[in-house]
Amino acid sequence: MDLQSFVSILISGVALGVLYALMAFGLAIVWTTLGIFNFAHGAFIAVGAYLAWQFGSAAGLGLGYLPGAGLAVAAMFLLGVATQFVLVRPFERQKDIVLLTVITTLAGATILTNLLNVVWGPRMKQIEPAAGGELSFGLVHLRSQEAIMVVVVGATLAALAWFLLRTATGRSMRAVAQNREAAQLMGLDVHRLYALTFGLAAAVAGLAGIFIASIRFMSPNMGDDPLQKAIVVVILGGVARFTYSIYAAFVVGMIEAFSTYYVGLYWTPAVLFGLMILVLIVKPEGLFGRRQRSV
């Protein structure tokens, strides 16, 4: 293999990693904070894309790319809050909340996906990329849209990190994640923080959906594949810290890029799922997590 293809694999790995980090962030933060697994996450991604298309594209309201994306992300925040209220909160006091919410969020995903089908129909759509063309620096060639994505996602993740690590609200969210009872005793409004977490997760998922819709096509089921990737990422990273899933996203991106080159496109998902099963067997706490085996 020449250097040129190696670099392009590397770049595509980074681009995938960035995208996966964005897709997995919401899943990871909901899991670390609420201790539940949101199977409607893929549907969030799809809904975000459709809303952005509706607000932004000429065929929709024609507000333009950025306003459309901004409105969509804001709307997704509200959808996330509503989802938490309807699908998660009623079961909060139940012993098997983890399993119950698997069922309700799966059902929620079906509802959202089919609503997309009802409203926008099954025909493929695409969001016009914010920028066309390619950028080249020596051996590095990448599409402008991908470059924008890397920058925006990097900025978004940095902003989220700042929010979670430095602001009072973000710290409260992490406190609730670490010990709900203690956080409650300190006077934190757990329900508000849960709603906020879900809203944030949905908003970031919506952003991921917007990017996916501009490099691939949109369909009501467009969230299925990202959800599976996000699951793989979160499992590989472990849930001890949400940053672990960002590292894991790049690991998965690289594995996928190299596996597509060496093993083939068809077998790549099988490789990823096989790896995920292996990690679950050997190191259920994730590649980066420390041993802490509780549900």
Partner: protein, 622 residues
């Protein structure tokens, strides 16, 4: 403690047999091919969902690769029939075995994981299987699947003919076999281990249940008929499409399982018909159908987690309560004379209490009074022999507990428990104006009498119990105080079959004879909820207070048991009454069984009267 009558002696036998007969005869009436098609699908889905119930409901093991097990069966069938030319009839069991094999492989990662991780790893396995299947398109036809599979045939007879009648009976036979298999598994020691691991994992492991082995068996057993169902499905629709790996098939099965009721075995079977027909009825609504099914799932999980089966049970409970209430109402009107004659002419009156209207027999007069309290599922007429023998020297009073005899049924939540029964006894004592009675409590009535004395709201002259083990700690002492037998299960079982009713009445008083026939007849009048609620509320009683009262020794007290009482743990009672500072007598009546006052009245009266006289003498002395 276990009570395991064979299936044909349980209450479920006749309903199941009738349902089977109806299904077997249905093709005579239903000739419409589309309706038959839906029935065939219902049978197959019932097999899949009820098999899933074994791991998900009974085992609490969320195997989301269950749909993939069905797919494994389907593809095994398609591949072996199409490319190996295997007979479809051999391919069906082979498909079941292939699914078992895959389930065993799935079990390996699942063995060490819990909760959400089980879901994730099984989803990953299902995806892996899907990817492998789709990528091998030279064999599996990729995403379009394997088409034009041969139809099932027997001899030269194709099962498509005569409105798919062959498929109908094949699918029905599969459902019957699968249900028999699951029923046997659930009730086997393995089934107990499966449920024990779900409910009390560490206790089960401490008792020697192997978690890994049990999980492996759970998944393998749930796979067997799922795989076979996949094969029958393939032989029926004659296409093996990768759609069955997908989420929408899984969601359909999940809705069948949840709407039917998890961990019920029968629930998913009933729901398979309801959901299949419902989802076909709204098939024209396109995406709205999926939305409606998902909303249904959320609603069931949120508001009615027991599902359809719980609704059926609730209906049954209501019907049974109506039946027993009607029988009691009828008896109040019709049989009063007969009952008064039975009780030596003591007049029967109805007393209004906060726990319903209570029937009381009272011989009256100003002689020293004895209040009799009967046992579980009996009635005041159990003391008929005492009413005729002892009325010369005593005023005799007996009453029917709520939900028993000719008293009314009551709110099970508030009334069917020992403290409430003690309140009823207080109400009877107050309403009949009985001063300082001696109290005799039999079995459950013994606990009522103990509670009555321990509450101390009404003064008593003495207390004798029979067939009752005083407890200090529940439920530990309850388990120790009785001989663990099927009787204890029956004592808390809401519905009796004929055989169970005869067994319970026979062991509680005496086998059926002209003398005991009345008690046997009366048993089926008892509100079944009275048994169930009383048993589950054993722990609400303040048992230590009773024991303190007994050890205090202020109240004359005696235990008069049949020496051969089949339910008591006599060693427990000997240890209790032999313990240091125990101030009371333990009397054993030869051949008295659980009801010495009924079986051997002469010997019982001798002991009981001796106690009564001593108690009254002590009171006079004080």
């Amino acid at each position: 403690m276990r009570y395991d009558p064979p299936f044909h002696r349980t209450g479920g036998f006749w309903p199941a047999l009738i349902a089977l007969a109806v299904l077997a005869a249905l093709p005579l009436v239903v000739t419409n091919p589309y309706a038959r098609h839906l029935l065939i699908l219902s049978f197959i889905f019932a097999v899949v969902a009820s098999s899933w119930d074994l791991s998900l409901g009974f085992g609490g093991l969320f195997n989301f690769a269950h749909g993939a097990l069905f797919a494994v069966g389907l593809y095994t069938f398609a591949l072996t029939v199409k490319f190996l030319g295997l007979s479809p009839w051999l391919a069906i069991p082979l498909a079941g075995l292939a699914a078992v094999l895959v389930a065993t492989v799935i079990a390996l990662p699942v063995l060490r994981l819990d909760g959400i991780y089980v879901i994730l790893v099984t989803i990953a396995v299902a995806q892996l299987l899907y990817q492998v299947t789709v990528s091998q398109s030279q064999w599996t036809g990729g995403t379009s699947g394997i088409v034009s599979l041969p139809a099932l045939k027997l001899g030269g007879y194709s099962f498509i003919r005569d409105g798919r009648i062959g498929y109908y009976y094949t699918a029905l036979a599969l459902l019957v076999l699968s249900t028999a298999f699951l029923y046997a598994v659930v009730r086997s020691p393995v089934g107990r281990s499966i449920v024990a691991l779900r409910d009390h994992k560490y206790l089960a492991i401490a008792r020697g249940v192997s978690e890994g082995r049990t999980r492996l068996i759970t998944l393998a057993a749930s796979a067997l008929f799922t795989g076979a169902a996949g094969a029958v499905y393939g032989g029926y629709v004659r296409v093996a499409s990768p759609d069955v790996f997908g989420l929408s098939f899984l969601t359909l099965m999940l809705s069948i399982l949840l709407v039917g009721g998890a961990a019920t075995l029968w629930g998913p079977i009933v729901a398979a018909f309801a959901i299949t027909f419902l989802s076909e009825a709204i098939v024209d609504f396109g995406p709205w159908r999926e939305i409606a099914m998902s909303v249904l799932i959320i609603l069931v999980v949120a508001f009615y987690p027991g599902g359809l089966w719980a609704a059926i049970q609730e209906l049954r409970e209501r019907l049974d309560a109506l039946r027993t209430a009607a029988r009691a109402a009828l008896a109040r009107r019709r049989g009063r004379g007969e009952r008064e004659a039975r009780m030596g002419g003591a007049p029967e009156t109805m007393i209004a209490t906060r726990h319903g209207r209570i029937a009381v027999s009272d011989t009256g007069g100003d002689k020293p009074a004895i209040l009799f309290i009967h046992g579980n599922s009996a009635c005041k007429e159990a003391f008929a022999k005492q009413f005729s023998a002892l009325r010369g020297d005593f005023r005799l009073v007996a009453f029917d507990l709520p939900g028993h005899g000719v008293s009314t049924n009551a709110d099970p939540e508030t009334t069917y428990n020992v403290p409430a029964y003690a309140e009823v006894a207080e109400a009877v004592i107050a309403a009949r104006g009985i001063a300082r009675p001696l109290v005799f409590g039999w079995s459950l009535g013994g606990y009522v009498a103990l509670e009555l004395a321990a509450r101390g709201h009404v003064p008593l002259a003495g207390l004798a119990i029979c067939g009752t083990s005083p407890l200090a700690v529940a439920p530990e002492d309850f388990a120790a105080g009785y001989d663990a037998s099927s009787h204890l299960i029956l004592a808390g079982k809401p519905y009796f079959t004929r055989r169970e009713a005869a067994a319970y009445a026979g062991s509680a008083t005496a086998p059926k004879s002209p003398e005991s026939a009345y008690l046997h007849r009366n048993l089926t009048r008892t509100d079944g909820r009275a048994r169930a609620y009383m048993m589950t509320k054993i722990t609400v009683v303040n048992w230590p207070r009773q024991m303190r009262m007994l050890r205090g020794g202020a109240l004359p007290f005696a235990i008069i048991n049949g020496a051969d009482d089949p339910f008591l743990n006599h060693d427990y009672l000997r240890a209790l009454t032999g313990s240091e500072g125990w101030p009371h007598d333990l009397v054993a009546i030869e051949n008295g069984k659980h009801a010495p006052f009924f079986n051997t009245p002469a010997a019982f009266h001798a002991a009981f009267l001796a106690f009564c006289r001593a108690a009254l003498a002590r009171e006079r002395a004080a």
